[in-house]
Symmetry: C2
Amino acid sequence: MIKINSKNILVTGSKGFIGENLIKVLIENGYTVYGIDCKISNHRYCKSKLRYLYKFLNYDISKVNSVKKIYSKIKKINFESIWHFAANSDISKGSNDIDIEIRDTFFTTKYSIDLAKKLKIKKFIFASSSAIFGNTKKSIDENYGPCMPLSNYGAMKLASEGLITSNSDYFDKIFIFRFPNVVGSDNTHGLIYDMIKKSKKSNIIKVLGNGLQKKPYIHVSNLIEVLFHIYKKNIKQLINIYNIGPEDKGVTVKFIISKLKKLKIFFNKKFIYQEAKIGWRGDIPKYSYNIAKVKKDSKIKILSTKNAIEKTIKDLYK
Amino acid sequence: MIKINSKNILVTGSKGFIGENLIKVLIENGYTVYGIDCKISNHRYCKSKLRYLYKFLNYDISKVNSVKKIYSKIKKINFESIWHFAANSDISKGSNDIDIEIRDTFFTTKYSIDLAKKLKIKKFIFASSSAIFGNTKKSIDENYGPCMPLSNYGAMKLASEGLITSNSDYFDKIFIFRFPNVVGSDNTHGLIYDMIKKSKKSNIIKVLGNGLQKKPYIHVSNLIEVLFHIYKKNIKQLINIYNIGPEDKGVTVKFIISKLKKLKIFFNKKFIYQEAKIGWRGDIPKYSYNIAKVKKDSKIKILSTKNAIEKTIKDLYK
């Protein structure tokens, strides 16, 4: 039973993997969601029973003109908050072409801020990333510094954080959530998605890197639960930064592939590894989060990386 | 006596206050300097005895087309390093107009990186800023985090740091120097410059803020000495970040004005303060650096803020 609370939320990147999962939870909690995305492919919420709670705005928020156009369409709506999730999702591609990240990860933030100001939205929620930190052996908490991103994606997420805080006087509350790798059966990028895509084309599957890269993963539904819990808390501070992820140091690429092999589509497939320690230019082969802050402020249990991966594989099996 | 070492250095922002002082030292050390700046006003080194060691390239490095044009002019020159000092200098103006900072502080970095790559320059030196940190009561060392800049200038310096590190695999050595406020009798902006400018127009001088903002200052010639000393050291690390400033917590605006009053031009002037604790949107009223790292790596003594201010006033007196 959904209790309509007649409140509106604006989401950028609404057709992205995490955006879609976010919207599901917002709608289930009775929000009317206005989603902005440049992709025109059909959105699952346009088909669901709850489609009346989802309004899709097909604009590219990396473009200055989109701000005016979107504003003129929704200027009469009161929004409780904006969740800015639009960004480039192909980190490898962006590291070979700065312009992609400047446009899709930085300018999307710039114009989301502009749009939020115009619409007088007072809460700004931003999907930042572990990619802002760069290569480090330390366990990364919220006070970690200096940030020395190795991918242009990480650089432009860091730039976005800066632009949000330097405009913080326009807002009542800001949440900056720094995600690790996020998994789910409906992934639109990342290792598992990549392996499935490659399996359809060939019996020999090339894996990027030597397979020993070890990273923490969070399950998308678990992630959204945590975000929404913190969002609903009565936090008084203006700028709130959280590193969100599991407590463990993650699993290797080889571990994930050993799990994937149980899926029918990978029977008879051969996986080939490279010699490189990193999968692509800008890849961070190992890192781990100190998540004491999010554990203190959220009652939602964060699944271990192993459990997150297993849950994803189980969903794919179905 | 200048020993010509036939080595070339490229400097962006060559007509800026710090850029000009940097070039003086580079030329005195026998370097041939290629300076890039969009300002066309006469440069002092064009007039000096050493003008043959200075080549001025009048281009706006915030524009994509400038990269090609500059490249075609100097592609045959071997450069030891690029010192990227171009940026917006009016922080207050930039905080009310994001686009100024994106263009003059961020895109200048983006295209300086592009130019350095094209010219195969292997050392990149960047003038970053204490503005990246935001408001904090802590003593700020190089590992300080999270960076929450309050000015768009600070945000775009942070963005620049990120873009430099995410492209660090193109370079052999990177220096990121985070400056505090910099003073000198040839200042082209800042409090002292502002007061002198206002004194010429009226007997009543409006000071921004309540005068109690307390900040550390470094004297420009002292700053350049430290930078050049570290630059010449045989440091093996790829990315080297330094917070550069005096060891003290700085002086108040009122202190500086009490010193200025000794100058003839301020006799009979009345200074009026505002109520605001900050001078402008994005101003950081108080901060201090922990400079243990620079003290360890440089033998150059850093003057106290008081001495730096007094030296500036003395030079102005002359």
